[in-house]
């Protein structure tokens, strides 16, 4: 901003040109301090999240699903919370799953780490931990994402051929021998295809999986795009960003149309879908939601300050 050297900057100019470093500093503080306080904020889940929860709860117990996990630690803040919620839901319903990844080489490892952590959490609240190979089978990373997903749709067994999985405390075994694949002939034998992603693999999956219902868990930035797929009913449900995670955590605590505290929804009118109150449902969503509020408020204030400065200088120049 060009300034007249002889004059001190006016208030309008100051408001319009706060130094970047100051703004950054305020943001750092804003995102840190609230983390030390655990506050449960009131929440009203959106339809996409309610559908995600409702459709998952309607899957048959002991069913079978595919999880395509395409996130890594760079989007840990959102994706890990999503993965945790999904795993909790599936474990509590005893649904077996095939774990695969087309997004990133490191994704299978990160997913396995998360499974280990959720196992420990579930153990604390009396759940049964999942065993690799028995309850879920890890197919690892597929470099040719598009071809692989096409093959999942057309001949799912072919992608598992030659893949090894590691049962606990034993050497590698052929993935196809896992109990998860027992009786599987085609992708139609799976009740749902879940994709947890923070990258463009959503298009890859959406364009190619036609024989199995889809649900996505995406990062906040992908919500608008995927919302249009949800609206066009290409997705059964959608969990987007930390808000989606917080929604699901709320739903797991309270259920849908299930008494006084629960979430009322017209989508499931006349149906009662329970939750698991008090059973370790809080996770990343609850932890980050307060700080998020302060950060968003800061953004709004920054925009207002800039505009006020502009208005003042316009007035001054008249």
């Amino acid at each position: 901003m060009a300034m007249n050297e002889s004059q001190a900057p006016s208030l309008a100019e100051k408001l319009q040109s706060l130094p970047k470093q100051v703004i950054y500093g305020i943001l750092l503080v804003t995102c840190t301090v609230p983390l030390f306080f655990s506050v449960k904020l009131p929440n009203k889940p959106i339809d996409a999240s309610i559908d995600f929860y409702g459709q998952t709860m309607k899957l048959p117990d002991n069913g079978r699903v595919i999880i395509c996990s395409d996130w890594t630690n760079s989007t840990r803040g959102e994706s890990k919370g999503e993965m945790e919620v999904l795993l909790k839901l599936l474990m509590r319903k005893h649904i077996k799953f095939v774990l695969m990844s087309i997004g990133d080489v490191q994704a299978p490892q990160v997913a396995k780490d998360t499974i280990r952590e959720v196992n420990a959490l579930e153990k604390l609240t009396g759940g049964t931990p999942y065993k690799e190979f028995e309850d879920y089978v890890n197919l690892g990373y597929f470099a040719a994402g598009e071809g692989t997903i096409l093959a999942v749709n057309n001949k799912i067994l072919s992608i598992a051929q030659g893949k090894k999985d590691f049962p606990e405390g034993a050497g590698p075994k052929d993935a196809l021998q896992s109990p998860v694949f027992q009786g599987v002939k085609s992708v139609e034998d799976f009740n749902m295809f879940y994709l947890v992603t923070a990258s463009s693999t959503n298009r890859t999956v959406l364009e190619r999986i036609t024989k199995c219902p889809l649900m996505f868990m995406v990062s906040g930035v992908m919500v608008p795009e995927n919302n249009s797929y949800y609206a066009a009913k290409q997705l059964k449900g959608l969990c987007g960003g930390v808000k989606g995670v917080y929604d699901l955590e709320t739903l797991m605590e309270n259920g849908i149309n299930n008494g006084s505290d629960s979430v009322e929804s017209d989508l499931y009118r006349g149906e009662k879908i329970p939750g698991w109150p008090g059973k370790g449902n809080t996770g990343k969503g609850t932890a980050y939601y307060l700080a998020l509020h302060f950060a968003l408020a800061l953004l709004i204030i920054a925009v207002i300050v800039g505009n006020v400065g502009m208005l003042l200088s316009k007035k001054g120049s008249k």
Binding site: K20, S200, M222
Partner: protein
């Protein structure tokens, strides 16, 4: 054989082929020397200005052809085609350039094409092999590396075109902080608002694909662009027709519905839903289950049981 297309339905295949035909017809027309009109695109006029200013300041022009995963694709090619034009202008001004590539195959293509540009301009000796660089094929390492380059080399003009994801704002804000003129475009629509906030000129949506036609006036590109316009008009017509037809059709009730390739009686008549309409069925096939008796493969061609294998 008649039901071989039942999985996809004939209409979308026909529509795709129609689009292809529109494009090819117009390429043919343009080749015939017809002078075809295309309108101006605001962001593209800025290219010459940006390179000119970089020359005045004696600082480099930095280009990034997007962060396409693993291999080069049509989006990267389009970006490199635009950069070929930028490099041509820069070469004429004798201005240094820097092309930052995200994967090795993009690097190969860019190296080849940009050097070609210098050769065509008769300035082959001025081309520095290191001006086209591979930075990293890891998204945020790439962002850190390019940010470092922008800050240290004090780029005077930056061009970000192609596939950009979350790193878009890192690159654009860094370039903004050194006062570079920025022309940008992302094929990922979700990143466009960030480029709008931080860059001077932004190509939105398929202005990106139109850019090379506008810059080079190659008949093939101009023709293709007009073919694309025909396609868009066809889409407009399809959507309008579908809307009108659905509006009329959804005013009634039905007593039969179409399921798995045949009409099924409903227990009682109900309001027509959108999925019952003629256009919905046209666009999405609902095939019947067909059983086909085939002979079994001879034993010699059958996969043998596992375990031993032919040793």
């Amino acid at each position: 054989m008649g039901n071989q297309y039942q999985d996809t339905g004939w209409f979308m295949i026909a529509l795709t082929l129609l689009m292809v035909t529109f494009i090819l017809i117009n390429i043919y027309r343009a080749h015939g020397g017809k002078d075809l009109y295309i309108r101006r695109i605001a962001g593209l006029n800025a290219i010459d200005e940006a390179v000119g200013r970089a020359t005045e300041m004696g600082r480099p022009v930095l280009m990034v052809p997007g962060l396409t995963d693993t291999t080069v694709n049509a989006k990267t090619m389009q970006a490199i085609n635009i950069f070929a034009y930028v490099s041509r202008v820069a070469a004429r001004f004798g201005n240094p350039i820097l092309v930052c590539c995200y994967n090795a195959s993009t690097y190969t293509v860019a190296q080849e094409i940009i050097r070609d540009v210098y050769q065509q301009e008769g300035l082959a000796d001025q081309f520095d092999v290191d001006s086209v660089r591979f930075i990293s094929d890891r998204q945020f390492a790439f962002a850190a590396g390019v940010s470092g380059l922008i800050l240290r080399e004090k780029a005077a003009a930056t061009f970000f075109m192609g596939e950009f994801y979350a790193e878009s704002l890192i690159l654009a804000e860094t370039a903004n902080s050194v006062g570079a003129i920025q022309v940008a475009s992302s094929t990922e629509l979700t990143q466009t608002p960030f480029f709008i906030a931080a860059c001077d000129y932004v190509l939105i949506g398929d202005e990106f694909y139109a850019a090379s036609a506008f810059l080079t006036r190659q008949p093939v590109l101009v023709g293709s662009l007009i073919g694309q316009d025909w396609c868009k008009l066809a889409i407009i017509a399809l959507v309008v027709m579908g809307t009108i037809a659905n509006t009329i059709q959804q005013r009634g009730e039905i007593s039969k519905e179409f399921k798995k390739g045949q009409m099924v009686d409903l227990p009682k008549p109900r309001q027509i839903k959108q999925s019952d309409t003629f256009f919905s069925h046209l666009l999405k096939a609902d095939p019947a289950d067909v059983k086909i008796e085939r002979e079994k493969l001879p034993a010699s061609e059958l996969p043998t049981p596992s375990g031993g294998g032919s040793k």
